[in-house]
Structures are given as structure tokens and as C-alpha cells.
Symmetry: C2
């Protein structure tokens, strides 16, 4: 894969706790939605352990393929927080104490500052700070890689503070049409409709809510006219097959 002309994003979730099932990741859904709205669709996401060699290899592969990379996790004060040092290694730059980050941490912690907390000011050389309005310890950007916290509330605050620095393409629009038809009832017609709208990405998702079983078709494209045409055609398809279409997505995350 090579870099596309439209901007793309890759997400790297770093943390043993996600791979063990102890923690359910909430950061990918947030980043995916926000980046889509900003016209930077997420093309790949990886969940990797707190292991330097894996972090280095994954970051270096994804930053080649995607316009923007976002990592979450591993930037706290404990021994298992090795993201910043690993990113320095990935970029082949020294890992040094950042004066501005150090000053921010000293001001925030006051008398509670200590060796472990100061370690959160050690960053790759020439990294640009990403402010942390929640708990002071900064994220950072180096090249096209944005290194964010793992705690969702902090990650979101960091991301919201830097989203204006990202150059997005046209926003990816989406529209859903659902009905109590089973996927197999509509699959052939839907295939024909997809062929007529090659630049609209039509996804078909079965749902089951109590006794109500059905299918939701989600269309995604940057072209609002094409999206409306395609989704109106989907609604007509449901009607012609004897189902009542609805403009809702029963399974969409809130």
C-alpha cells in the first residue's frame, strides 16, 4: 500500500491490558468517528503489547502507509510506560528531557513532583508537545505520529486540542437505512445497487433487537448527492421487497 492522495489515518492502541481482555478499548471508536468527520478516515488499527520491538516496527510501518498516525497508551510514570522511548527509537532520535514538559509537570505537581513523574517529560528530541488539560503529562507529535494518553478522558482532551492542526479531506458522510429484512433476502438486489454506485461504500449489517431481526445498510461517501441517491434507492429496494424502510441505524453506537 502507498499513501493515498486523500488523507488517511492509522491508529495504534498500545497496552497489554487490551490484549488480555482486562480493558475494553474506547479510544478507537472515538478517534474513528472524529477523524471521519474531519475527512481523515481510519484505514487500519492495531492493538499491540507494551514491547519496544513491536511498538517500533508497528509505528514505522503505519507511518509509511498513513497520512496521520495516532497512538494511545503507555505515556504514564510507571515501568510499563515505554511508548515515548520506543517512538524515539522508531524515529532514530535521542530520548531527552523536554524543558517545557518538565516545567509543566513541576508546576502541576508542586511538592509532589518526584523522579517517576519527571520521567513523563522525557520525549523524543524535537517532539512537539500535545497539551494535557486533565493531568499535565503531555502527549507529543513527531513527524506524522501523534502520541496520546490511554485514559479515554485524557486522550479525548488531547485529541480535541490538536484536531485543528490536521489537514482533512472532505468529510466522510454516512446515512443508514434499515428494515426488518434478513440479509439473504436483499443481498442480490443490494449487490446490483452497489455496482451502480461504486464510489459509495455500502455496508450491510444484520441486527437483532429482541424479536426484531433485520438489516441496516450504511452508505459512506464524501458526495452528498450520490449518498442521497444511493440510499433512496436502498429505501425503494426495501419497499419493493415488501419491507418498510427506516432512516435509523438500530445498532449505531452513541
Amino acid at each position: 500500500m502507498t499513501k493515498a492522495t486523500s488523507p488517511t489515518a492509522g491508529v495504534i492502541i498500545i497496552g497489554n491490558e487490551i490484549l488480555s481482555g482486562r480493558t475494553k478499548d474506547e479510544n478507537l471508536p472515538y478517534l474513528a468517528k472524529a477523524l471521519c468527520e474531519h475527512g481523515i478516515p481510519v484505514r487500519e488499527a492495531h492493538i499491540i503489547p507494551d514491547l519496544e520491538e513491536v511498538i517500533v516496527a508497528t509505528v514505522n510501518a503505519v507511518r509509511e502507509r498513513c497520512t496521520y498516525v495516532f497512538t494511545t497508551g503507555g505515556i504514564g510514570p510507571t515501568h510499563d510506560d515505554i511508548t515515548a522511548a520506543s517512538i524515539a527509537k522508531a524515529f532514530g532520535v535521542p530520548f531527552i528531557r523536554h524543558p517545557e514538559a518538565a516545567a509543566t509537570l513541576e508546576a502541576y505537581y508542586g511538592d509532589d513532583i518526584n523522579t517517576a513523574r519527571m520521567r513523563m517529560a522525557d520525549l523524543p528530541q524535537d517532539a512537539t508537545l500535545i497539551p494535557n488539560p486533565v493531568s499535565a503529562a503531555p502527549g507529543f507529535r513527531i513527524g506524522n505520529v501523534h502520541v496520546l494518553a490511554g485514559v479515554p478522558r485524557i486522550m479525548q482532551a488531547m485529541f480535541d486540542g490538536i484536531v485543528h492542526t490536521l489537514t482533512g479531506g472532505p468529510p466522510v458522510l454516512s446515512r443508514a437505512v434499515s428494515a426488518t429484512a434478513r440479509e439473504g433476502d436483499i443481498a442480490e438486489t443490494l449487490r446490483t445497487i452497489q455496482a451502480s454506485y461504486p464510489s459509495v461504500d455500502l455496508g450491510s449489517y444484520p441486527f437483532g433487537l429482541g424479536n426484531r431481526i433485520g438489516t441496516c445498510i450504511v452508505g459512506r461517501t464524501t458526495d452528498p448527492t450520490l449518498l442521497d441517491d444511493a440510499m433512496n434507492t436502498i429505501a425503494e429496494m426495501f419497499q419493493e421487497l415488501g419491507f418498510t424502510p427506516s432512516d435509523t441505524d438500530p445498532m449505531a453506537t452513541r
Copy 2:
């Protein structure tokens, strides 16, 4: 990375709906926990789009690195269900109608059988069926790759039906000790404890529940005696620093 002597798993979540943020993945947490208990820790997970070239490349990379691979998603009857055909391509084998799968689908759907539904019987040559007790359309295994449904209820039923076929190592045990200490308060001592127990993976996770802020240390290892020793040492650390340790993980998923 090469295959480790202890069995490992890689998980590949296939679906545009996860990368767009429309759907929150629930399959990785389930697989991660179940595989850990079976002594097959998940070492990497990837979330990829419904694109043949990406599925082929990811499956071929992960099946080299991990003892077992599990994919979820993309095995339904619609045009965007391209997982089975892509896996055939990854293995370089013909994509053919599987007689047993065809018979199962015909029996299940009766008069409702049609071209789209029959397509779910098209599998890589020599694939072994993974039964679907919920809705008939099977998953399958080829080599070390297990291809499961994306709908969590169906994925879980498929996985539960084949877990006995996997050769696990000793189960990965975990124990949590938490207290209302902040990570920076304990980081230095914790680093020393981790150095004393190199074969216990100690993860440090901050939590915030209302006004209660603290840190949960999760230890993971296959050795029950070492785990108890390490976690008792963590509990003593909290006490010596003036915090009351608890044997609970306030942020664990249920």
C-alpha cells in the same frame, strides 16, 4: 518476530464498520479472555477494512507469527462479505462450494434458500467447517487460521464449539491489587518490584471513579506461586506507603 514455544494467538477484526466507529468491537475482549484462560495469550490484534489485498497481507503476516489466528467478520451473504474468498487467496487455494456447508444451508433455509445464501457455502478448498449453532452459515478453519462470524453472539458460539481443538499452554493467571494511590506515588517502588519478578507481567492502570482516584496493579503469569508472591509484595508496598490495598480491579470489564 518468530513463533514462540508457548502458543500465541493473533486476532484480525475485519470490517469497515469498526474502522468508521459505527460499531464497537466486542469480539476481541471475548477472544482475549477466553484464549488467555486456555493458555493462548493474544499477542497482536488488527482491525482492517473489507479489502481483499489488506485481508490477504494481514492474514499471511499474522499466521506466520502466531500459533493460532482468529478472524471475525465478513462471512455473510452480501457483497461486502469477502473474507472467505480473501482467505482462499491468502492460502493460494481454489475457492469452491463446500458440499457439507451447502447441505447445512439448504436444510436450514428450506424454501428461503437462494443464490446469495448459497454463496455462504463457498469456502477455501480443504477448509474444515466450524459449526454455527445460531444461524447455520458456517465458519471454517484452514491451516492455523480460524474464520469466525462478526456478530458477537454467533462468533462466541462458534468459538466455544472449537476451543477444545486448540492446544493451550498453562493458563495465564491474573490477580489485581488496587489502592487510592496515584501512579506517580508508587512508580519507583513498583519498578523495583517488577525487577524482582521478571517473569510476572505487572501492569499499572490508573482509575477514576467519581472522587475516588487510584491505581490498580494487575499481575499476569502462568506460575501461581510467583503470582501470589508478587501481588502480596504489591499489597505490602501500598500499606508501607500508607494506602489500604484491595484485591479488586475497579476497572475490570465484566
